[in-house]
Symmetry: C2
Subunit: 178 residues, 2 copies
């Protein structure tokens, strides 16, 4: 079976306690989304493949007419996850940001629009930082109290990077001010 990073997101979320596909997606939206986005349409087919490959078990529990499932990692699943975590092979980081692209080309703008663009970018970074500090870090710190430490490290790295970028753009902004 071909293992893409999305597969390890599934295994990881189940490892963190998510029991349904829906719960995986919700947890991923509060955590891995920021460095590996995953849509619901990926979740169910991927879970199917992972079960077929024996990396997880799905137990059916009928609720009304609708079938619901309880997922759990198998031993093989846990091993494969750890093996991947250890392996150094990596696709290149990819980053796409229209804001930075605009900044790169901003020489074509008149000075007041340049300033407005930088202000918009800073505001966006500020909001992302605030969201991270207020919503994401506390959740990760709750996990930390339970002994799972790395989600909080990653959340703080993101929060601190946003803060640093905000300062940087603030400085650029003041340089551009008339």
């Amino acid at each position: 079976m071909k293992m893409r990073p999305a597969a390890y997101v599934m295994l990881g979320m189940i490892g963190l306690g998510a029991r349904s596909g829906y719960a995986i997606k919700k947890l991923a939206d509060l955590s891995t989304r920021f460095f590996w986005p995953t849509s619901l349409a990926q979740v169910y087919p991927e879970l199917g493949r992972l079960e077929e490959a024996g990396l997880l078990t799905r137990k059916s529990k009928l609720e009304g007419k609708r079938e619901r499932f309880d997922y759990e990692l198998t031993e093989v699943g846990e091993e494969k996850l750890v093996e991947w975590l250890r392996s150094p092979k990596e696709a290149e980081t990819q980053f796409r940001d229209e804001g930075v692209l605009r900044l790169f080309l901003a020489d074509r703008l008149p000075p007041d629009d340049q300033l407005a663009l930088v202000r918009r970018l800073r505001k966006r970074v500020h909001e992302a930082g605030a969201h991270t500090r207020e919503e994401i870090v506390p959740l990760a710190e709750a996990l930390e109290r339970g002994g799972t430490r790395f989600p909080a490290q990653v959340a703080r790295l993101r929060a601190d990077t946003y803060a640093y970028t905000e300062q940087w753009l603030e400085r650029l902004e003041s340089e551009l001010e008339p």
Copy 2:
């Protein structure tokens, strides 16, 4: 015509002096690649669409049996570019990084593998930072001397962010050391 960010990359690169599709790709690989990756297979069809829409002109110049083209922005093309630079609408930033995903799930690893993972990440960030400082910033500063200032701002923002992240991971590394 539907204008995606890749279209503005083309317009921007021509605006910076790239005259052929090949030159656009080369310049993009040294600049916009880091916040809007573009493959060669996108370049030629996109240039075709942009010409059809009247945003650029292509002048054919026959070299041997092979046709070569000289691209230039039309007035409409310049206007559309500036209009987009001014517009606030933006798709969400997207970032995909297997390294950070591994870090997020690193609680499953034994301590020595956790440390090895953080070291690998720091090394990767260090190399990306060095490449940015040594290869990208100097090119952008050459443009700056010609009066085009923002590419250098973006290059420095990237260089400084890498340096900050490297420090951050260094600190985490020393916390994990036995």
